[in-house]
């Protein structure tokens, strides 16, 4: 996928004035956010499980090479064909080759963010194959020529009216006068259209939420059951997983699964959690004849020796973006690449380079809600700060911005001068702004006052008030 991260500011401006998008995003606080809070409240051990989840992933990452080898051994013993892809291009080549070998015409897909990351659909379509996304949200964005705007709710930016218009435009074989006013009618139509594709598919491609070293299994988690139809009805199943998806045992994955659905949608458990081990057995009446697993690195191994190793704990629940005030205001597309929200602001610069994605780690108020809800306790704001430092080192910010920072640093390192200056500023602004309580415009603060008033200080600094408070003076 071609990043548009460099035009983040422009993307964000467009998003803020997109009335449809704003209507669609308005449901987040009462939807996913409220559901997660309720699910967490129903499970008193939730916070303890977060520590356990973090520890499982930390242990696994510290022995990642060995767990991958163990996984490969056990998966191969069960009949899986395991492929290793160092880069996105290599992963595309492997998958294209497998599809060509079986002369695939129709390829169905379960939801996979990694397939977005490597740009898989374009590759297969260029080779003449029909590629059909089967997760309903992914299908909706595919038929619009868009990309997912959320990692678990890909079509969260769309309203019901838009879906109806798209279905009428695309499903032209169905009667024109059919009624599509209820979401259930729209889901029913998608079910009918996609069911034909499931049955006709030659190859089914899914992602993997986890790989289990103990058994050589891949795991997918869905609510629709589309991933299961994708992988059970096609002749060939290809599971695409990045190196950090591995966990040691079924006990380990059970603990993490207790966090995943609750953090993502606020469900007790997702409707379908499926463990796949090898292809169809000789005695099996159904299932894929061949089962391939493509293990993708694409820059992740280079994060292991850095502070960004912690990002590799991510289980892609989406809680960080659901709770992010920036995501809530601009949605996912503005972030300009595959992974939006706080996790994207940390992951994207690591994967495509800080230079191209410099605005993302800056697109945060550092309110910290993302790390408060992250089931894997990833220190997202700390890691964004690391990216900001790297950006500064690379000479990213403008000369004016750097000069401002330098001046500030000079002042902040001289406490007496700093406090005197601040007292002066507070007194002067406090005096000037006393009547209105705020300023409509201020020199050097145009970026702020263009959009809202700047509140006038009370006349004294916090340090002054604190000193008086400690001295027992009336305030």
């Amino acid at each position: 996928m071609q990043p548009t991260t460099q035009s983040f500011k422009q993307n964000a401006r467009v998003a803020l004035s997109d009335a449809q998008l704003q209507r669609a995003l308005a449901g987040l606080p009462t939807g996913l956010v409220a559901n997660r809070a309720a699910a967490r409240a129903r499970l008193p051990e939730f916070e303890d499980l977060r520590d356990i989840g973090r520890d499982i992933k930390d242990h696994t990452l510290a022995h990642l090479d060995l767990y991958l080898e163990e996984y490969e051994r056990n998966a191969t013993a069960a009949g899986a064909k395991v492929h290793w892809a160092a880069t996105a291009a290599e992963a595309r080549d492997i998958i294209l080759r497998i599809c060509r070998e079986v002369n695939a015409k129709i390829v169905t897909k379960g939801k996979s963010m990694i397939s977005e990351e490597i740009g898989l659909n374009d590759e297969l379509q260029s080779a003449g194959m029909e590629v059909v996304e089967t997760d309903l949200g992914e299908y909706l964005v595919q038929i619009r020529g868009e990309t997912p705007s959320h990692i678990i709710a890909p079509a969260i930016h769309l309203t019901q009216d838009q879906v109806e218009a798209d279905f009428r435009r695309l499903h032209t074989k169905l009667p024109k006068d059919r009624v599509l006013t209820d979401p259930a009618q729209l889901v029913g139509e998608a079910r009918q259209v996609l069911r034909e594709k499931f049955v006709a598919a030659d190859v089914g491609i899914t992602g993997a939420n986890f790989l289990i070293a103990e058994t050589g299994s891949s795991v997918i988690v869905t609510n629709e059951g589309n991933g299961d139809l994708t992988q059970s009805l096609a002749r060939v199943h290809i599971a695409l997983a990045s190196i950090e998806k591995i966990v040691p045992t079924r006990e380990d994955v059970s603990s993490i699964l207790r966090l995943l659905a609750r953090s993502a949608t606020g469900q007790e458990f997702s409707t379908y959690t499926t463990f796949s081990t090898g292809p169809r057995r000789p005695e099996d009446p159904d299932g894929p004849e061949a089962y391939h697993v493509v293990i993708l690195d694409n820059g992740r191994s280079e994060m292991l020796g850095t502070a960004f190793r912690e990002v590799l704990r991510c289980i892609r629940c989406g809680a960080c973006m659901n709770h992010c005030p920036v995501y809530g205001a601009i949605g996912g597309h503005a972030y300009g690449w595959v992974y939006p929200g706080p996790i994207g602001s940390v992951l994207t610069p690591s994967l495509i380079g800080v230079r191209d994605a410099a605005d993302l780690p800056n697109a945060s108020t550092f309110c910290g809600r993302c790390e408060e809800v992250c089931p894997m306790k990833i220190p997202l704001t700390k890691l964004m700060r690391h990216h900001r430092e790297a950006e500064f080192e690379l000479g990213g910010p403008s000369a004016r911005y750097r000069l401002g920072l330098k001046a500030w640093a000079w002042l902040a390192k001289r406490p007496r001068l700093y406090h005197t200056t601040m007292r002066l500023v507070a007194a002067v602004l406090g005096g000037l702004g006393r009547r209105r309580g705020a300023f409509r415009s201020l020199p050097f603060a145009g970026g702020w006052t263009r959009h809202r008033d700047f509140p006038a200080p009370q006349g004294r600094t916090f340090q002054q008030l604190w000193a008086e408070h400690k001295a027992g003076a009336p305030r």
């Binding site: 892809a85 890909p154 458990f269 463990f275």
Partner: protein, 229 residues
């Protein structure tokens, strides 16, 4: 250098680890052999079978599944006939090769038609048996194979699942022990499906709709264990 070796060597470089480090290998092998459990939620610890069943049932019903409790397997055919009739569904059922299902006294319901084998796209009702059930979230554990082909869990619009109460366990970890007992300590059936209700989606305007791709409705029949009730 193959991509496999390249990736593994980059990982080792990042971790500052050497290849063939016996100490690290022992840590990994011991962890896998130990299969250590972590935290089991209090909601299912020290519960009677009756309490576990109530919990299991409650979660499934919350997710819009129907739960029927029977005292004997012999009652299954008539319970299914009643369920289909009351939901205005056709009387044709697809079932795999599971002898405990195929050898039930179906003669009592002569109008019910049984089709054997894997599911076909035209099937409306699928009947399978769960290998285990987990009380902590109302979750069925389905093991694929000739007895219960995986397509039966997903293709038909109505999914009927039989589970014996003696296979109802508190937590996911207990279900893995059931699977280990049946398939071997480190082996798995080709697919294990953990299913917690009928198929659903929230992808259109955030509104929950049942029956996205898998079954629209689900009926779970629990055969009570006389030893526990």
């Amino acid at each position: 250098m193959t991509s496999r070796d390249l990736i593994l060597s980059k990982i080792r470089a990042g971790l500052g680890a050497k290849a063939n480090d016996a100490e690290r290998q022992a840590i990994v092998q011991n962890r896998i052999a130990a299969k250590a459990r972590h935290l089991i939620p209090a909601r299912v610890t020290n519960r009677t079978p009756g309490e576990l069943l109530a919990l299991f049932r409650g979660f499934l019903e919350r997710e819009s599944a129907t739960v029927l409790e029977l005292d004997s397997k012999q009652e299954i055919p008539s319970a299914i006939a009643n369920y289909l009739r009351s939901n205005n569904l056709g009387a044709r059922i697809r079932v795999g090769g599971d002898p405990t299902l195929t050898q039930l006294p179906w003669g009592s319901e002569p109008h019910l038609e049984m089709l054997l084998g894997r599911a076909q796209p035209s099937d409306e009702v699928g009947l399978t048996q769960a290998a285990a059930a987990v009380a902590e979230t109302g979750t069925l554990v389905m093991a694929s194979g000739p007895d219960n082909p995986v397509t039966l869990n997903y293709l038909p619009e109505t999914h009927i699942v039989v589970v014996e109460q003696r296979n109802l366990v508190p937590a996911y970890e207990d279900a893995w022990d059931v699977i280990r007992q049946r398939f071997g300590p480190q082996s798995m059936p080709r697919t294990v499906n953990l299913i917690s209700g009928p198929s659903r989606t929230g992808d259109i305007g955030g509104r929950l709709v049942m029956g996205a791709h898998g079954p629209r409705r689900m009926c779970v029949i629990v055969v009570r264990d006389p030893a526990t009730s």
